[in-house]
């Protein structure tokens, strides 16, 4: 038996070569990227501070926001006086929004992603959902949001439902497209290797479509924050959007901008966690390795 190997074609470093290892190069690139990001954020904060100094009270500076968050994040006397908090400050309202978004996104993504993939082999699913996806996909969700709240009320669960519906719609479209774009050669190869419909779905379609679905999931997640905030603006009794609306009415600029900033930071934080998880799932691909989907 010939045990010949052409492993010399692999990228590697022969013994005695003093060049940097791939790991060291990656680490250096990561540090440079981090430094550039820090510089970018610092420049933005300085520019923001200067702009706020110039505009005056109608535009809160980063320092104003920092001060506001210190006073109201965990416990807010102002909100207690207004009857908008039982002593929890912004934290309680922010958590309400975060939970609605996460529950809606998780269930919506599971439902939409599964249906999108199942619609490839199961014609009935495709024919029932495609017209609905085309209709709701064409209607801007932010325009449809008020109707959604009218139909389902302004309860927290109606907002979860709206986020879930929006996520499911996007994930259906992305999952379906990912399945269609999966190289048919993989499926045919699996079939000739004795793959059953179940094993092909589990071992070929599911992992093979993750990279493309991952992009859709991040888009849906980003949109879900905005959607949740808008639904709260339209008539909720708690949540970051509700507080933003209250502050806008009372012209409390510091508080309003604090909450917008806070919501943005939470969205970035959750997105980073998602990227970390996805990079593990697609570690077999180049995009998974670079943490840059």
């Amino acid at each position: 038996m010939t045990n010949r190997t052409d492993s010399q074609t692999l990228i590697g470093h022969p013994e005695g070569n003093s060049g940097p290892s791939p790991g060291a190069v990656r680490r250096r690139k990561w540090i440079i990227r981090l430094l550039l990001s820090v510089v970018g954020v610092a420049i933005a904060l300085l520019a923001w501070q200067r702009l706020a100094d110039h505009v005056g009270f109608a535009f809160a500076s980063p320092l104003d926001i920092w001060q506001d968050l210190r006073e109201n994040m965990w416990k807010s006397k102002y909100l207690e006086q207004k009857g908008l908090s039982d002593g929890g400050g912004y934290r309680v309202h922010l958590l309400a929004t975060v939970w609605r978004v996460l529950i809606g996104v998780v269930f919506g993504a599971a439902a939409g992603g599964s249906l999108g993939l199942l619609s490839l082999p199961i014609k009935v699913i495709r024919e029932v959902i495609n017209p609905l996806a085309a209709f709701f996909g064409a209607a801007p969700i932010f325009v449809a949001a008020p109707f959604f709240l009218i139909w389902f009320g302004i309860t927290p669960w109606a907002q979860v439902l709206m986020v879930g519906f929006y996520t499911a719609l996007l994930m259906y479209i992305f999952a379906r497209r990912a399945g269609e774009n999966l190289d048919a050669g993989y499926v045919e190869s699996a079939m000739t290797l004795g793959g059953t419909p179940a094993s092909i779905f589990r071992h070929i379609y599911l992992p093979g479509t993750v990279p493309e679905i991952a992009g859709g999931f991040r888009i849906a997640l980003a949109g879900a924050w905005g959607l949740a905030a808008i639904s709260e603006l339209l008539g909720a009794q708690e949540g970051a959007g509700f507080l933003i609306k209250f502050y806008a009415t009372a012209f409390v600029v510091d508080g309003m901008m604090s909450l917008v900033t806070l919501l943005g930071l939470v969205a970035i934080f959750v997105d980073r966690i998602v990227v970390f998880g996805l990079s593990y799932l697609i570690r077999w691909s180049e995009s998974g390795r670079s943490l840059d989907l």
């Binding site: 045990n3 492993s7 692999l10 050669g185």
Partner: protein, 274 residues
């Protein structure tokens, strides 16, 4: 006669094409006859090269045998069973890279066994053996993207071997590889074939490759089987064997049957310097 479209059946059996036609309708409405009344029988254990120009029906022939493409007329049988769909009995190595990039090398090799419900111990034992056969033991935990093109082809070979398939269908599997890697894979394939009792259909447009590997060459032109040539050259078929008058005459016969005249070949490719 039974229908064969699952994992049923085992053992080594003859492959028979009986009056197989495969006709496609082009978008323009024109009918494309990819296969026209193709009939032959290949005894179990034979190494067959299917040679022809691009677009003349070689791959279609393989896809019909794989069960990936139903024939318009006629039938393909494996022993007594009619081929009606893909089966683990007829595993295919494709021209393009179809090693699953999301599975490491071992999982690729074990995919077929996992689909067939084999236990973990059996899967592990089989994959260890097959990876050793193709010289990839040290790369069992690697991702396909970490391997060279030649190594990925060896993963594909190991996966087909692990499936237990008795008929290997190979659609220009080494076409994209450099000469030296291709030659090493030829040696590997011949060794694997010698050790087993499988039937191999090897599609290629490379006459030299066909003469190195096969003991029978089928020539396909315009969807028709125009010639069926026994190759009785001694093995191993090194450069000396391929330079014998018998081998040169075989090459010329193949070129003639494919409708390629000597003077069509660019002088530089023939080796003429003047």
């Amino acid at each position: 006669m039974t229908e064969l479209n699952g994992n049923e059946g085992s053992g080594v059996r003859d492959v028979t094409f009986e009056g197989v036609w495969c006709v496609f309708e082009h978008r323009s409405g024109q009918l494309v006859h990819a296969l026209q009344d193709v009939s032959f029988t290949v005894p179990a254990g034979q190494f067959v090269a299917v040679v022809g120009r691009s677009g003349h029906g070689k791959t279609t022939m393989l896809r019909v045998l794989a069960g990936l493409q139903p024939p318009t007329a006629g039938q393909v049988t494996l022993g007594e069973s009619v081929v009606t769909g893909p089966s683990v009995e007829r595993s295919m190595v494709f021209q393009q890279d179809t090693v699953f990039p999301w599975m490491d090398v071992r999982d690729n090799v074990e995919f077929s066994l996992k689909s067939q419900g084999s236990t973990k111990d059996i899967r592990r034992e089989t994959s260890d053996q097959r990876l050793e056969d193709v010289g990839l033991t040290d790369f069992a935990d690697s991702w396909p993207r970490e391997l060279s093109g030649g190594m990925r082809k060896r993963v594909a070979l190991a996966a087909v071997m692990a499936s237990g398939s008795k008929v290997w269908l190979m659609d220009e599997p080494f076409g994209s590889l450099d000469y030296f890697t291709r030659r090493s894979l030829h040696d590997l394939l011949i060794n694997l074939w010698n050790e087993s009792n499988m039937t191999i259909f090897f599609v290629t447009h490379d006459i030299e490759e066909a003469l190195i590997l096969a003991d029978r060459v089928m020539l396909v032109r315009d969807g028709k089987l125009v010639e069926d040539i026994e190759v009785s050259l001694p093995r191993p078929r090194d450069e000396d064997v391929r330079a014998t008058p018998e081998a040169v005459a075989l090459s010329k016969t193949i070129l003639d049957h494919l409708g390629i005249r000597e003077d069509e070949i660019v002088p530089e490719l023939r080796g003429d310097s003047n």
